[in-house]
Symmetry: C2
Subunit: 276 residues, 2 copies
């Protein structure tokens, strides 16, 4: 089983989780609660000065975990694929400028072509940006998504496929972001996590819960402990595979976004201590 | 690739597809269009005399494919699991009385217990009803469901798992109903279909499409050709695996249910000819 959670040293929150908060406000609130890590969504820092972002992180003693989210490589037209590559390189430069060590890739899918074609284009996209990632010292993390997003968001729908892709490149700068929301049901999950860790590809671990019932395919993620994901069990597998990084809380939820964000942050910390 | 569709001899429609129609009306309309098969949902014949149902099928020259849907075996309490088994046996008796040769199993899941526990209870449930199925000459078809239904509807979320379960029993009366909606994204699908066919476990083939975007997790299935499922490719694999049964149209759709059912049936026949 997972190690006991005694402190918040491994707690990281994605800015999207508290979407209504301005970046500086979010940082201050996270820090006040003792949160140590932050994963930064591009929209949260859009228009902000990179130096100011770094200062804000330093002041609040927050360690940036990931920049979210690159990817979306597949497209019918080569011009669009090239544009996606350019945009990913821009994100790598932004991450480097803010001293964020990793870019999460939501790899993308194009419903008018075969999933395998989209996967080939994802591989080509990663190939194109990997040299820049190395040069800038920003790692890339493939995030396999739930199969319900296979139409437009990710042709990579399992940890097995993400492992295949990471092992194809076998590069210290390319690994995997494992989100329990996308993979909890997979009866091959324990074995694939072990495989991921033993190849040094386990770069990030995202947590939340699957609401029963789920009322929205995108924006109804649950707080840890509210749903049916065996979170402690999966965290145990992740730790057994050698992962020692952040437990990143990434919750998209209309319900929580509409509510009081201070209350929500308290709930996150409590849920993290009790149910993660 | 799939064989060319030259006629409607293999077209079957699930009564749920035209949910607003009374059973006798649905039968007459299907027959008028040249549809040859019908899969009957329990609610569609609730309260009807079994002899009258048989007569209605005979009059309209409709061949019953499946009775839908048994299963839902997992539960926390043994009393509930026993009740599910009793209900499945009742469905087998109803199917036999209406001369429907197969019962589709939506196997079930209980979100408060491990998926593996639910799968064990599914196995126990099948074990309990299989003797009755053989006695009544009604086959059982496990339907693996999309992982987005793993919380409450099915702990069996892939064709690989369904194959495992069917091969565990290795019984002429237990096989698999393959629905493209639940499995289209699986990069192991071709191989698992081949495996399913070579073990004589491919009992039924359900078709529809995945809408882009999908607006409801349950009731927004698309008409063939409207979405992103590579239907002809999958039918090709199914036929190559030896399947010669019905192509069963099973569409749950608030949009189509609210519309004119005659128009919808015309659309189904056209979509079947062009896009299946």
């Amino acid at each position: 089983m997972a190690s006991e959670i005694r402190d918040l040293d491994h707690l990281c929150i994605h800015t999207i989780t508290t979407k209504p908060l301005e970046f500086e406000v979010a940082c201050a609130k996270y820090a006040a609660l003792g949160v140590k890590g932050i994963s930064i969504w591009r929209d949260a820092v859009d228009g902000l000065d990179h130096h100011a972002v770094r200062e804000c992180l330093r002041t609040n003693e927050l360690t940036p975990a990931s920049y979210v989210r690159g990817g979306f490589f597949p497209a019918l037209q080569v011009e669009k694929r090239d544009a996606a590559i350019e945009d990913n390189i821009a994100m790598l430069q932004e991450a480097a400028a803010m001293e964020i060590p990793m870019l999460v890739l939501v790899c993308g899918a194009e419903p008018r072509q075969a999933l395998q074609t989209s996967r080939d284009q994802i591989r080509e996209g990663i190939e194109a940006i990997l040299p820049e990632a190395k040069k800038l010292n920003v790692k890339l993390a493939i995030e396999p998504l739930h199969p319900m997003y296979a139409d437009t968001r990710s042709a990579i729908t399992s940890l097995a496929q993400a492992n295949d892709m990471a092992e194809y490149f076998s590069d210290d700068y390319l690994g995997i972001a494992l989100d329990v929301y996308h993979l909890w049901f997979d009866n091959d999950l324990e074995r694939q996590i072990k495989r991921c860790g033993s190849n040094n590809n386990l770069f990030a671990f995202h947590i939340c819960d699957w609401n029963v019932p789920t009322t929205d395919m995108l924006l109804d993620r649950g707080l840890m402990g509210e749903g049916c994901i065996p979170l402690k069990q999966i965290r145990g597998w992740v730790e057994k595979a050698g992962f020692r990084g952040f437990n990143e809380v990434e919750i998209f939820s209309n319900k929580f976004w509409e509510g009081d964000q201070d209350l929500f942050l308290d709930q996150i910390v409590n849920a993290y201590r009790q149910h993660s």
